[in-house]
Amino acid sequence: MTPEAAPTLRELLGHPPLAAATSLTGDADLDRPVTGIALIDPSQAGSVEPGEIALCAAIPPGYLADWRLDAAMRRLRDQGAAALALPVTGGETLLDGSRRLARHLRLPILGITAPPLRWAGTAAAFLHAPAVDAAEHLRRAHRALTRGLLGPQDVARALARILDRPVGVLGPGGDPMGGAVQPPPDFDPYAAVAQILTEHGRTTVAVPVLDASGRTVDLWLAAALGHAATAWARGVRDVLQAGTLAVQRWQATRRVELERDARLRASLFGDLLEGRLGAGHRFQQRASEIGWRLDGWHVAFHLAVLGQVDLLRHTDAVAAALAAEHIDATLVERGDGWSGWTTGRAEPGEDANRDLLAALRQVRRRLAGRFDCAVGVGRAHRDASGLTRSLTEAWDAARLARGRPQTGRLVHIDRLGLAQLLAAWAGSETFAPAATRLLEPLESQPGDLVATLAAYLDAGGSAAETAVVLGVHRNTVAARLRRIEELLTVDLANPDDRLALHLACRVTLDRGSASPRSW
């Protein structure tokens, strides 16, 4: 072992399997490199090489208070020993004078509470064959981690037991989850590689758990080692990396479970929306099996994600955010986000509604680090059929909330006018293309036929008023209306045709204009 690579006494004492040794003479002079272990006799003090720890495997009673200890310290200091190690039992202590002498001679005294020769063997392995030591830890980690399916916190606990040091889980941004390990200031959560960081002599090892793509960090496993030799820190990195495999395995299994559950929920949810979960229906049994409460008063809400997000990855986080705001809700993944509902025996009052809105606002804030979303809330309705209705309201409200940053993208159905709702519904992905297709024949024609049609319908079928609004002659309006009837093969006297065309105009014009009509 080269002198540069030799661990210091402090690092050696910081190695968990060697924790049975502690300095009896304080914190001083622990930073010298240790090159080996030499056995000495308590009185004759065999010779040691510079940098070696002189170990007395057995000492006579009273030795800690004996002058021979002082004499041995002096001889060892003169030979350049790194420290003197002695077996200690509970009762005996060093004399204050010997402790001072050790500091004066700059020769720390280590007290060993384990069998000294076993300690010496471990220390020698640590000094001369750190890879063997690391392999032993890796072997134990392998055994512990393959025993069963372990979640991230379980993996951290298992590794903490093996390493005998705190091991914690950090979020993708480096925030501690559970608080066992605080990341050091120079930890970089955006560099998705294993990091060995030493600050004030204390070493922290952080290893990323990558997602299925292998590019994004899902979590970090981090171990706080205290004073640690470089070789030991590298060994810990390997052990943590074994831990990341276990976490990834857990995540993959969890993902499969989530998808299976999600599929079940989605199919039941479909049944719910179709009104097939009423009392006595055969699906009701399955719904209660997965914990859905269908009787009582329901208030539904919908979280619509803005942007492209892998919903399943975040379902746990959404549930956790709801729980954190004390919202006891059933949650279901849907195409654009999550729907959920709370259930109570009695109809919720105004206060309960206000509290729910405030809590959902907080939920949205909690999730802001992951994705942005719009939140819609439905009214309170009773039983399975009422739930279906509340869910629909919530979904509609969420749609509107998307375009309403001024309300914090959170909208309650009660705050909406019926027309707005209708229009918003009409602007849905299914209706909008139909509207566009309905009016398509007018697009290529001279004269602003769509605007004329919209103005005419808005004016309640009055051609004269339409002419004033558009600033054209009344005959021009009449001519355009005739062409519109021909092109679209519709009858503007027919109320059904008028309704369909009116909605189509609203949707088309809203979509075409740069700034949507404000509500």
Partner: protein, 352 residues
Amino acid sequence: MPIRYLGEQDVDHLERGTALLGSGGGGQTGLPALLLRRGLAGRRVALLDREDLPGGHVVPIGLVGAVSVFTERLPSGGEWTRVLTAIVERTRVRCDGLISVEAGGGNGIIVFVAAAELGLPVLDADLTGRGLPRLDQTSMAALGEPLTPLAIGTADGRLLVLDGLPPSAAERIVRAALSEFGGWAAIALRPVPVTALDRVAIPGSLTYALRLGARHAACARGAAPYEMAGSLGGRVLATGRVLEVVRDHATAGFGRGSVIIRADRGGTLLRLEMENEYLLALSDGEPVASTPDILCVLDRVTGEPIFCDTVRAGAEVVALHLPGPPFWWRPEVVAAVAPRAFGLDLDPVARP
């Protein structure tokens, strides 16, 4: 050489000198000095050199036991007469004078108290040359000379005469008997022919104590430690504060203890190992002085010697190393008083 006399004016020097030779032990000197002043009562005791006595016998005399009890139960007079009479009757020799069993500590003074009581001269010699705790650590014992017959006794009539026993057995019996004698007793050993004194005793030790005491007295209060050490013919081991005193009464024999002194300069730690006497000095763990040499701890301000049983943490002290009696450095006897004789597993540390 004219015959010298020891009078009251000499007691102060004698007390200082015997305390220094005690190496921290040998028994406190204060009370024996008080007794001597009272016992002299204006008279003088003759202090003879070896040449002043052409022949005859001298009897080694002194006190054995715990000095702490000595201060509680004072000599009532007559104990020296009883033990001397017992020895003289048994050996049928005439006692021409007394020598001290031990020049270090209280026994260096007690011999004059006994001489004043008995009206005998004191010969300038002793059996240890310093403070030593055991009968088998006398010069006679070390040379294989018998100590018996010996007698211990008290003023109230208790008397024990031992004969035909080797020194180690005599030591054990005397030590065991002391509790029956009330903790301490007067002792007289086998008479020594004056002609054999040069061989089996340490001549000149009382004069040496007086000379040492005179030099010590001459050093002004608060004298520089190095000046005092030079004047006493020794060297300074450390000047500083006593950090820690540990006494382990559990170990066999006399209680073992350690004194740790932190030197003012350089932070050097001086550790003194002690039983009844300071036995070994380690400077930063390195042995620097040991028996048979003499180790003294002096109060830094008054210069007074501090005994092993009164040294305490926090005291500002000077630790001195004085040469021990050359007799004990002789190869054939050194083992009797070397550190190993006190259970300290190292060779005597020779003077640098």
